[in-house]
Symmetry: C2
Amino acid sequence: MGDPYRVKPGQKVKLSDIDPRDTDALGSEDEARGRLYLDATAIDTLQDRLYAEGKRSLLVILQGMDTSGKDGTVRGVFNTTGPLGVQVTAFRRPSEEEMAHDFLWRAHLAAPRRGTIGIFNRSHYEDVLVVKVRKLVPASDIEKRYDQINAFEKMLTENGVTILKFMLHISKAEQRERLQERLDDPKKHWKFNPGDLDDRKSWGDFMDAYETMLHRCSTEWAPWRIVPADRKWARNAVIADVVRKTLEDMNPTYPKVSWDPKSIKIV
Amino acid sequence: MGDPYRVKPGQKVKLSDIDPRDTDALGSEDEARGRLYLDATAIDTLQDRLYAEGKRSLLVILQGMDTSGKDGTVRGVFNTTGPLGVQVTAFRRPSEEEMAHDFLWRAHLAAPRRGTIGIFNRSHYEDVLVVKVRKLVPASDIEKRYDQINAFEKMLTENGVTILKFMLHISKAEQRERLQERLDDPKKHWKFNPGDLDDRKSWGDFMDAYETMLHRCSTEWAPWRIVPADRKWARNAVIADVVRKTLEDMNPTYPKVSWDPKSIKIV
């Protein structure tokens, strides 16, 4: 499938040039769903090896506007693997304790332990996205954060954490449909927060902030990928493919033990 | 199916009287597997409502000797639900930081947040099991822990945490088979730790410690259940049935929102 979604280091991205409905690299929906099934199964097996090896971990960072499908990605790609060895951390409005530390503190605390897959549903990138758009800290502080994030992620990768970052790219029109669904279905009302519409009003500012983030923080060691996300099946297929290939490249191995299995008698 | 596995408050249990291969309450294996499938699916749906409601949580505590199937239970019962809203905490040998606190500190830290299911793979009960058998703290301290645990769990339940505790009851013969499998299959060597055989040598002492735990800590608010676990399908069927019924009794509901959905226009 190649890797058409990856942002090269230093590359400038215009999100308006990227079609959130693009499925060109995927073939038909049926084919993509078939591959997703196989990928999810392979990810499960590879996770087992990662856990057995116990030396490295995988961190999957999901960012995107409201309704872009961060929860749906977890379900679609990681449900076969299950909760054993996969930990999801949702980054909400920071607590007082978290605010009393630097912005990377809570991300570091949630870093996946060796042998596991960690998924960040939102992440430290909120601190150069919503925090920037709403001007919650001075612009000069934001400016320093891109390099701080890159250094932080570099340190993680040098210590055995492989990092994958996916920006779920949905259109403003698709978001309207999904928000409307939440209004129309009483079972989905709880997912809707009238305050979310403020972010929608600042759509352009958010896209600018995303573009800067993609430009400044897609590194050799922790690249961003932009995932067309208007179609859920396409979004899942792209991400599952990258996760599977990444785990295959990591090639975790069952550890050799230091004792002789034949010498042991169980009584 | 009734609830034949539950230990009544104050009840004295002799584990040697309970057959680890018992499947009397379950019908045929095929029937039990069919129900497991339906139960796992129902648990997924109920978890979604629990998450939407966001007010209460479920804590599932799994205890048992090595190879009794704690990991297997997580896979068998909770893989359909997936990692979103389910968090597994494995209680390993305590760290220096954990040892510098009371024995309930790390359990409290891992308590499930509202709206989620937390699974303890081993738990604070290790502090009245292995710690007791290996005499790692004075007997007079152990003696106080049963009531301390009961008070801790009572506090949790009074604050919205429903607690289910399962002792996975396997026979010494079944453990031998499972340990031997780990020795025979190079892919399973990493699961085998020669030190584990020490626990096996103290099998009788462990059973005594389990019996005291079951007698002293099966409360109205947080009952123990003894699950015959020599047969994996039976173990999963029993636990899934209890989890499902417990969530059904909790009956989490989609919250009513304070705003009028019809008044909101998405532009």
